[in-house]
């Protein structure tokens, strides 16, 4: 078995109309890891997933899943992966149970095995009570859970989740996060997920790749990425108008001190430890601290650093995203 569960080298997708959706990306996902693709709508997340799950052909580059080439050994790839797509794909005219059995049939799992598995999965996603209801009567959260159950029917080693909590309420989102964590913990499953929610990437992923305009701008663990910002930021003000820059910079863990509009911006590798030390040092020298705040860096700041725009701004360029979607749709219409 290869070392990485997923490995992509120079993976590229250019649609017929010349739109470069994914641009020479390289990354690898280790076994049992939760790996997240974070980026705004239209960044190329779904196109990357579509290539990895073998429903879109890469224009250039290659990728392997559990050692099988996605282009040359697509059947082997399909057998070993599970997919929970962005859309609700269950057949609305069938019941939840029928949908799961249909998925099992698509993997060629005999009925003797699939009936038992379907019952277990319905239990897992807490849909047993509704299994004989038609899917058209299901709520959004129930449908998501059903998609999850379908994606797990072949007991995949690698599970792909495309925007798993898109459009879900806060409660259902939290429940989904718990399922994802449980899959990793209980089954040692490798999970690849895309999201445009920063807090989701932060809460779930072992490692994150930030993707923008089809390119990976940075990969790392959430804390590595946050550390790359230079640590925590302490802002403070004192009573007297006196320069205390020298005094503060001698305190342990302090990396940088800047004076701005009468208050001090202090970068520290460990804000919680540094803040009391600074107060202590200032008091010894007869200064009175009037105001102090500690900011831990968030992925939003990471995102801002690497893409040059905040996640919110990127989200707001909806017109651009819309144009891109239209181009994608045309090129395979």
């Amino acid at each position: 078995m290869s070392e990485d569960a997923i490995k992509a080298e120079g993976l590229t997708k250019i649609f017929n109309h010349g739109l470069v959706a994914v641009d020479h990306i390289n990354f690898s996902v280790k076994h049992g890891e939760i790996f997240g693709f974070l980026g705004p709508n239209g960044a190329g997340k779904t196109t990357t997933i579509n290539m990895l799950i073998t429903i879109a052909r890469p224009t250039e580059g290659k990728a392997t899943i559990l050692g099988s080439d996605i282009a040359k050994q697509s059947m082997a790839v399909r057998s070993s992966i599970g997919v929970v797509p962005q859309e609700y794909t269950a057949d609305e005219d069938l019941t939840g149970y029928e949908n799961i059995l249909l998925c099992a049939d698509l993997y060629g799992i005999p009925r003797s095995v699939s009936k038992k598995r379907a019952a277990d999965l319905l239990n897992l996603v807490e849909l047993t009570a509704f299994k004989d209801k038609r899917v058209q009567t299901f709520s959004g959260g129930m449908r998501r859970r059903l998609e999850l159950a379908c994606g797990l029917i072949n007991r995949p080693k690698v599970l792909f989740l495309d925007e798993p909590t898109l459009g879900l309420d806060v409660q259902t989102r939290a429940a989904t996060w718990n399922y994802v964590k449980m899959l990793k913990k209980e089954f040692g499953m490798t999970l690849f997920l895309t999201t445009h929610y920063l807090e989701e990437a932060d809460a779930l992923c072992d490692r994150i790749a930030i993707i923008d305009h089809g390119k990976i701008v940075v990969i790392g663990t959430p804390s590595e990425l946050k550390d790359s910002l230079g640590g925590d930021i302490i802002t403070l003000a004192i009573q007297k108008d006196e320069d205390i820059t020298g005094l503060i910079s001698k305190v342990e863990h302090v990396k940088e001190v800047k004076k701005e509009n009468g208050s001090y911006m202090i970068k520290s590798s460990n804000g919680e430890l540094t803040a009391p030390l600074i107060i202590e040092a200032l008091r010894k020298n007869g200064h009175v601290v009037t105001r102090l705040s500690l900011t831990k860096p968030t992925l939003n700041e990471v995102y801002l650093l690497y893409t040059g725009k905040s996640m919110r701004d990127a989200e707001e360029s909806r017109e651009a995203v819309f144009q891109q979607r239209v181009a994608m749709r045309r090129s395979h219409a």
Binding site: N50, M75, T89, D91, D93, L102, C103, L106, Y107, H332
Partner: protein
């Protein structure tokens, strides 16, 4: 974690599951199901009975006999009457192969119901694409041909059911069977209807394989149905058509299907070219289905 030993290695696994899904959607929707039965009743009752071509030759449609001298005796008049009545039947039979135009047309409806039923198979391909179901299926180890064949077979089963209903209604409305008719004719009709349905469904699927737009299958349906219907022997014998239309009608697989159905049910002059009908429709179906499967390997993915 994964249990590969549990997984069937058959190339066409999933075919039955997907076909069954299509059929379930059909028979579990009572409204669509009933509409599908009503439609052929309307065709037969309205069109079949309205086009009463036999009535053209009835005595009421002819001017009264001129007065002759000496006047015809009653027995001569009777002979003449029998002669004209026989002539009507003979003209009808030599033109349509049966004296009853309704029977002639009813059989073309049996064949033609396959076009109406299979034409919208493209719709379900487009639906599945739009709703994401297609993406889901494509990411599973089901072969592309199984995905396509499930659509084709489900449409064919529906077409056979519809054809059986049309035939039953035709019987109820006074179909006159010929001396060729026997119990085996029914098997023969199912066979030819199945063959042509698979061919047509493959053709319509191939034409909409890449489309994500609902308008596409409709446009194709409108473009293709009319020539299929009128450039065939559905309403009128091919040998009485102008040459250019004869040329089109004689390559139209529907013509051969209609001929086979008529030969099995209402004709009385032997089976003659029946093997040719089956061979032609069979070859059409094999070729079109093969093209459709090859296209599905290439075009189902993004």
């Amino acid at each position: 974690m994964s249990e590969e030993s549990n997984v069937s290695k058959s190339k066409l696994h999933g075919l039955w599951a997907l076909t069954n899904r299509e059929l379930k959607k059909w028979y579990q929707a009572p409204f669509v199901f009933v509409m599908g039965i009503i439609q052929p009743i309307l065709w037969l009752a309205l069109l079949g009975k309205a086009m009463n071509i036999g009535a053209i030759f009835s005595s009421g449609a002819l001017p009264p006999l001129p007065q002759l001298t000496p006047a015809l005796t009653p027995s001569q008049l009777q002979v003449l009457g029998v002669y004209f009545a026989g002539m009507q039947k003979q003209i009808m039979t030599s033109t349509f192969g049966t004296a009853d135009y309704f029977s002639f047309m009813a059989m073309s409806m049996v064949a033609f119901t396959t076009v109406f039923t299979t034409a919208f198979v493209g719709m379900s391909v487009v639906w599945d694409r739009r709703l994401g179901f297609m993406n889901k299926v494509l990411s599973t180890p089901v072969s592309r041909s199984a995905i396509i064949l499930s659509k084709v077979f489900a449409a064919s089963v529906r077409a056979m059911f519809q054809a059986a209903i049309v035939a039953a209604i035709a019987f109820a409305l006074g179909l006159q069977t010929g001396s060729n008719f026997s119990v085996f004719s029914i098997f023969g009709i199912f066979a030819i209807v199945f063959l042509i349905s698979v061919g047509l469904a493959s053709m319509f699927t191939a034409l909409t394989l890449r489309s994500t737009r609902m308008e596409m299958p409709q446009a194709i349906f409108q473009l293709i149905t009319l020539p299929l219907m009128f450039a065939s022997s559905a309403y009128f014998p091919i040998n009485l058509m102008p040459n250019w239309l004869q040329a089109i009608a004689s390559v139209n697989p529907i013509s051969y299907t209609i001929d086979a159905v008529r030969r099995l049910m209402i004709f009385s002059d032997g089976f003659g070219p029946l093997p040719l009908d089956f061979a032609y429709v069979g070859i059409f179906t094999v070729v079109v289905t093969a093209i459709c499967i090859v296209l599905s390997w290439r075009y189902l993915n993004k």
